[in-house]
């Protein structure tokens, strides 16, 4: 304050993306600007049947069909008449609008979107789902919005945004064996609470994050939503470029889309990656995270590996590394719902799926399923489960009387073997 600002002020990566989308040279936290949307994603729950309906009431066409991606994942593989009806509405709407980018029943939207090359560094995206934050793992800025706003984006291609402050998480060192990105983010939830990053963008960095695969980075950005964050983001690097090279994404530019080293941030939190132990979040809030030892011995009736958070190829590999030749506990249900068909196929090809099946895991169709209490993994009355998903609010994954712990795929697999919450490092 008081001193004159340099002509082009230092900006974070998020600020640069927002400025570009708003057609401005620079933005700063607190500015409210209107951004042009590069990609809009919607799924079968809030998409055609809600936002689509509102758009039709407005009586205007979709602003740019090429920038809209429709994915079905929430009510797929479900025989409930409501779910069947929702699929019908979705398919009919997509056919009527003749949309070029429709990805039905290929897996969970946040996984399927990047797999199909729709994300890359520098894009400004919106999604009709709160975990749209996941896209930050690719250096894109993506926010979750409600159905009304989605309708507005479909009509105009624009959205207003309050430029968020940045919360930086710096994870130094390297994670120990048996510790994953999920443990890092659960620890952060425990440390700062589920509103700890309200309105902010959570920018993850540091040595341990740099060393992470894209699958692991996606777990961090996914759960920015559990911190109240507007979104999460990670500066793109060679790892990003390599992952995207295998997709249809073109014009990937990891050089331009970097934050300035001296860009001011509201808050920096440092974590020593080497010191993090496996974390488990007790029912019924992700912020109830604690070292796994605090809950070790708690019996579980179900172990579920699934969701956009915890069923990527790396997650399945973690689970396989734990079960490796062992068999699940009798009396504990063990389900694995791969995040996408592509992940399922890759896991089958490399033998990971077989290891899980041999341990007694039932492989479920890809999709949201058990995360929202649909399908065979629905938590029954008074059942306690542990899952690699992101939310454990009351009734989230089944009956109101059920209880859900959250953990990494390592921890979920370890619980499947012993029938109780277990430190996964015992099996590595």
């Amino acid at each position: 304050m008081g001193q004159s600002q340099p002509p082009s002020q230092s900006m974070t990566l998020s600020e640069k993306i927002i400025a570009k989308a708003a057609g401005l040279d620079s933005v700063k936290p607190g500015d409210i600007v209107t951004c042009a949307v590069d990609v809009a994603m919607m799924h079968d729950s809030s998409g055609p049947r809600r936002a689509g309906k509102m758009l039709d009431e407005l009586g205007v066409p979709i602003w740019d069909k090429d920038k809209l991606v429709v994915i079905t994942d929430h009510y797929t593989n479900d025989e409930d008449p409501n779910s069947v009806e929702i699929q019908k509405i979705t398919h009919a709407w997509v056919a009527e609008k003749q949309l070029p980018h429709f990805l039905p029943e290929q897996g969970i939207c946040h996984v399927v979107l990047p797999e199909n090359g729709f994300l890359k560094p520098g894009l400004f995206c919106v999604g009709g789902d709160s975990h749209s934050t996941t896209a930050g793992a690719f250096g894109a800025f993506m926010v979750g919005i409600g159905a009304t706003e989605l309708a507005s984006v479909l009509a105009t291609g624009e959205i207003w945004v309050r430029v968020p402050e940045t919360l930086r998480l710096d994870v130094s060192g390297c994670l120990s064996e048996g510790v994953a990105a999920k443990d890092v983010i659960l620890k952060l939830c425990g440390d700062i609470g589920i509103m700890g990053a309200n309105y902010m963008v959570v920018e993850y960095g540091g040595e341990a994050v740099k060393a992470m695969t894209i699958d692991e980075r996606m777990t961090l950005t996914n759960m920015a939503a559990e911190l109240g964050g507007k979104t999460g983001i990670i500066a793109p690097d060679e790892t990003t470029a390599q992952w995207l090279a295998a997709t249809a994404a073109s014009g990937v530019d990891i050089k331009t889309w970097q934050g300035d080293a001296d860009a001011p941030v509201a808050k920096t939190i440092s974590m020593d990656g080497t010191a993090i132990s496996p974390q488990v979040a007790a029912p019924s809030n992700p912020e109830n995270a604690a070292d796994v030892s605090e809950h070790a011995g708690t019996p579980v009736g179900q172990a579920y590996i699934g969701a956009c958070t915890g069923a990527k190829l790396d997650d399945l590999r973690m689970a396989a590394a734990i079960v490796n030749g062992r068999t699940k506990a009798t009396g504990t249900r063990f389900f694995v719902a791969p995040g996408s068909n592509r992940i399922r196929d890759a896991a089958a090809d490399e033998g990971t799926l077989k290891i899980l099946e041999d341990a007694g895991a039932t492989i479920l169709p890809t999709g949201c399923g058990g995360c929202i209490g649909l399908g065979p993994a629905r938590l029954e009355e008074n059942m306690t489960g542990i899952s690699s998903t992101n939310r454990n609010f009351v009734g989230r994954a089944g009956e109101k009387s059920s209880k859900l712990y959250l953990g990494s795929a390592y921890s979920v697999a370890a619980a499947a073997i012993t029938g109780e919450i277990t430190d996964p490092r015992e099996f590595l």
């Binding site: 607190g30 409600g146 309105y199 109240g228």
Partner: protein, 167 residues
């Protein structure tokens, strides 16, 4: 809709007013919002929904509107006649939903200086609140013009309709 730049009585509550209080599950699952708004804030203050008057102003502390993305939370306040929502801070989805329904959501660091029943004049465009009981003027973070235009039209959908008609 009520004019966002008029006077009204303040209803002052604390931090973390969540969407389950603003729109309890039974008030929106099997009910239209016109009926459901009668249950707004029921768990916290059962008197609120019946006593609130058109043009009154809702004042909260931090994390106003935390919880789910259900649009009924701000819609109930709007249907009860709430002219503006002031808070030290908002949960982000509630903040957007409120503005998108045409109700000014104003961030004001000084809401502690307001008591329930105080007569307030809110100038959303200037980001200014006058407390007519104490004579004090409180500053809020001002809303930019284009959001005020949206609010004047009654929210995002009507605003969009007007805009599309003009084009």
């Amino acid at each position: 809709m009520s004019d966002s730049n008029g006077t009204g009585r303040a209803w002052v509550y604390g931090d973390n007013i969540d969407t389950d209080q603003l729109a309890p599950i039974h008030s929106y699952k099997n009910m239209e919002a016109e009926e459901g708004c009668k249950f707004c804030l029921e768990p916290l203050d059962p008197n609120f929904a019946s006593a609130v008057k058109i043009g009154d102003i809702f004042v909260a502390g931090n994390n106003m509107g935390i919880g789910s993305s259900r649009e009924q939370a701000p819609l109930h306040l709007k249907l009860l006649g709430i002219r503006a929502v002031l808070a030290k801070s908002f949960a982000r989805i509630f903040y957007r939903n409120t503005l998108n329904f045409g109700v000014p959501a104003l961030v004001c660091a000084e809401v502690d200086r307001i008591n329930t029943g105080d007569e307030l004049r809110v100038d959303a465009l200037k980001g200014r609140i006058e407390n007519l009981n104490t004579g004090e003027t409180l500053e809020c973070e001002p809303l930019p013009d284009h959001l005020m235009a949206m609010i004047a039209d009654g929210g995002l959908m009507p605003h969009l309709k007007n805009k599309l008609q003009r084009e």
